[in-house]
């Protein structure tokens, strides 16, 4: 396949999955500049790894792997701790006008709570919110399904506690 053709296929595949990359950027990067940098780095890593994609996993699963690996190991400008009283940065990355004020407040609390999770915990929560089956989560993260189920239950409880304390 010629380079131009590969580029064409790559662009098409990425366009079809770009929302997924936006979501990873929203959950891991706190400023617009960081999100842009992370998006760029993920796309570069995807492009580098694209020739190695052999179709064994779903393309979206493969994109998740690259995006999460890049976000977790690559973004070093991240703030170490986001305090509970800080305005929800993640919430600012999600726009929605369809919720009423009370609902919006609770959402903000939940987003703020997610921001306080560890890097791996964020990945698990994000995949859960994306409705990815545990089997696919295992394929992405390399954590056994049993372990993931336990972690997910603990995370739900942790988020419940965090939002309660806000």
């Amino acid at each position: 396949m010629q380079k131009q053709e590969v580029e064409k296929y790559f662009e098409k595949d990425i366009r079809e999955n770009e929302l997924l990359i936006y979501k990873v950027c929203s959950i891991y990067a706190y400023t617009d500049a960081d999100r842009e940098d992370l998006f760029q780095d993920i796309v570069i890593q995807l492009w580098k790894a694209y020739p190695k994609f052999n179709g064994q996993a779903k393309f979206s699963t493969w994109v998740y792997r690259v995006a999460l690996n890049t976000a977790i190991t690559g973004l070093r400008k991240q703030k170490s701790i986001i305090k509970a009283d800080q305005p929800a940065i993640l919430a600012a990355n999600i726009i929605d006008d369809n919720y009423d004020a009370g609902e919006e407040d609770r959402l903000q609390q939940l987003y703020t709570a997610i921001e306080q999770l560890g890097q791996v915990e964020k990945a698990i929560v994000m995949l859960y919110m994306e409705d990815r089956p545990y089997e696919e989560m295992e394929e992405i993260l390399g954590i056994s399904q049993g372990n993931l189920r336990v972690k997910m239950n603990r995370l739900k409880e942790k988020l419940r506690q965090l939002t309660k304390n806000m």
Partner: protein, 199 residues
């Protein structure tokens, strides 16, 4: 609000703030800015610099080429630079292995930790070899060729000289440990904490 209530909202495609100007074809022309790319760049630079250094020494002594070629110091530099080039090339290859981001997250992190630990181990050995190499050079050189700048040093008693070498090696041991920790230790600790999070 429960996490499950957030699911629906999260899945609404129009609620995620998009990034402006995402020209995919333009983006892939850029270079990665990540820590692995930075390490790769640093080793590449180190190799180039070490290749240029002997040429610079040679260029500054063009008026007496014969003198350069018969100078043992020049050949010592060559040996040192060649050593650093080999060492940087080894590191460069090691770091390239870290570039693959398409593996599962946990095995990828474990591999990165393994590579970084190997690198730190080799760097510790490398620095020690360089220090011992220069100590041997300072002791042996005057027996092979007269080096004026070593005259004063060799006029000191061997006891003082070897005490200084021992102190130098001890200082090197502690400072390199500290520098290596600052350079790689934090990142290693961070990667290990991620693995802990996964257990």
């Amino acid at each position: 609000m429960e996490l499950d209530d957030l699911k629906q909202k999260w899945k609404q495609n129009d609620t995620i703030r998009k990034i402006k100007n995402t020209d995919i074809m333009e983006l892939i022309q850029h270079k990665s800015y990540g820590p692995v790319a930075a390490l790769k760049k640093a080793f590449n630079k180190q190799m180039r610099l070490m290749a240029i250094l002997p040429l610079l020494i040679f260029a500054t002594n063009l008026d007496d080429v014969q003198k350069v070629f018969t100078n043992i110091m020049f050949w010592s530099y060559i040996a040192f630079c060649a050593g650093v080039i080999v060492y940087s090339w080894f590191n460069y290859r090691l770091v390239r292995k870290m570039e693959g981001m398409d593996k599962m997250v946990k095995p990828n992190l474990e591999e990165q930790i393994d590579i970084l630990e190997t690198r730190v181990r080799w760097q510790t050995i490398g620095i020690r070899i360089v220090a011992i190499y220069f100590i041997i050079l300072m002791e042996v050189l005057p027996y092979i060729q007269h080096i004026r700048m070593l005259d004063k040093w060799h006029s000191l008693s061997p006891l003082i000289r070897f005490t200084f070498y021992a102190a130098f090696l001890a200082l090197q041991y502690f400072t390199s440990r500290r520098v290596l920790y600052q350079k790689f230790g934090c990142h290693l600790a961070y990667l290990k904490s991620l693995i802990m999070e996964m257990e």
